[in-house]
Amino acid sequence: MINSSSLLNRKTLATVFIILLGFSCPLFSQEGHPLVGSWSGDRLVNDKNTRVLVLLDLQPDQEITGTIIENGVRIPLSDVTLDPQDWSVNISAVGEDRAGNTLSYKIQGVVGNLGSATQRNITGTWDDGTDTGSFRLQRN
């Protein structure tokens, strides 16, 4: 019997792999800028968990760029800020879903377990323009 959940995960992973191939920079950064790298986790939408992947990179001029990958769709980030006073993070992203509808995300969170290369996380709230729910991302 085909497990639809595992099929969805395989599709998502395949999409992520293809997108990552297009990324020109290696996203290792366990000990570099605290935000740089790939983050995966869940956000709560209408009491339902949705898997998300967030890829972040640091440019030489200190701008943080990246993309959100959700439901096989790539949503570019328009603004990312990190406040080193309290390690709070603000992310804005604008894109389109598969149907061509505009997606506008506002994400506010805090980096936790900052010093860990394997347990670093970001938790907070995720506003997708329709609903605001909690989220948790873990550094990959």
Binding site: S24, P26, F28, S29, E31, G32, H33, L82, P84, A117
Partner: protein, 274 residues
């Protein structure tokens, strides 16, 4: 005026004068009291940064690329003067506040190229001009080694998607008279490149200037160019001392076998402020 001194006091005075002026026998090794040996050279005239045939020893104690204690250079920046980006300054303070408990080197991962030189247990430099290579072998940490090319090849492009970033980066070097100038980039951001909890990013480009002003001194100067973590390029350095004896104090004068991973039990006890 006549000053009378008793025989007892005179003996005491003579003994005191002897103690002040006599050589401190036993407090120094034969090497310490001998004149400093000149810089050794290879047959091609190049400075020999390593062992000479028939000699013993290896490079040992060093200093820091910032602050001015011990073997650190007196021209170094102090920690508060380091030109760190705001996030990097905050990360440095976080690491210090947590007693460096997240240090990857303490988890037996390779230290950065400067960190390995600074690691206790010592290192050797092996020059192979016939191969256009210089190797550094490190006894401390995970017992690593590093290769420096001297064939004039350029540094890799860090934005090349085919480049595989590494712990020790990619090094290429040339001689400027008696100073070896080594440039390195292509780091994987998985380590702290020098002691002192210093942050860095994949934009890190290090320039090392290594010289040997006399047999027992290695002069190490580092220039840090990393626009990701620092607001401007900066430099610092230290001297490294030659070790005549092995780590256990024996006269063998060789690097000993040490593997950080073997029976490692410290990580579980690391404590920070969190």
């Amino acid at each position: 005026m006549v000053i009378r001194v008793s025989t007892h006091n005179l003996s005491l005075l003579i003994s005191l004068l002897f103690l002040i002026t006599a050589p401190h026998a036993g407090a120094q090794s034969a090497e310490d009291s001998a004149p400093v040996r000149p810089t050794p050279r290879l047959v091609n005239g190049q400075v020999n940064l390593g062992l000479e045939p028939g000699q013993k020893g290896f490079w040992g104690s060093s200093g820091r690329i910032f602050d001015r204690r011990g073997r650190s250079h007196q021209t170094n920046l102090l920690e508060e003067e380091l030109p760190l980006q705001p996030w990097a300054r905050a990360l440095l303070e976080y690491r210090k506040a947590n007693n460096q408990k997240d240090d990857p080197h303490a988890r037996c991962l390779p230290g950065g190229i400067t960190r390995q030189i600074q690691t206790v247990n010592g290192f050797e430099i092996l020059q192979h001009p016939e191969l256009n290579r210089i190797y550094l072998v490190f006894a401390g940490g995970p017992h690593t080694w590093r290769m420096i090319h001297t064939d004039g090849r350029p540094l890799p492009d860090i934005n090349d998607p085919g480049l595989i970033p590494t712990y020790l980066g990619y090094s290429t070097a040339h001689w400027e008279e008696d100073t070896l100038v080594v440039e390195t980039n292509g780091f994987n951001e998985k380590t702290w490149f020098a002691s002192g909890s210093l942050p860095s990013t994949r934009y890190l480009h290090l320039t090392e200037r290594i010289s040997r002003p006399d047999f027992e001194t290695l002069r190490y100067e580092l220039t840090v160019d990393d626009p990701g973590a620092y607001t401007q390029t900066w430099s610092g350095g230290f001297d490294v001392a030659w070790n005549w004896t092995s780590w256990d104090g024996s006269e063998l004068g060789e690097l000993h076998e040490y593997f950080c991973q073997d029976n490692e039990r410290d990580v579980q006890h690391f404590l920070g402020s969190e």
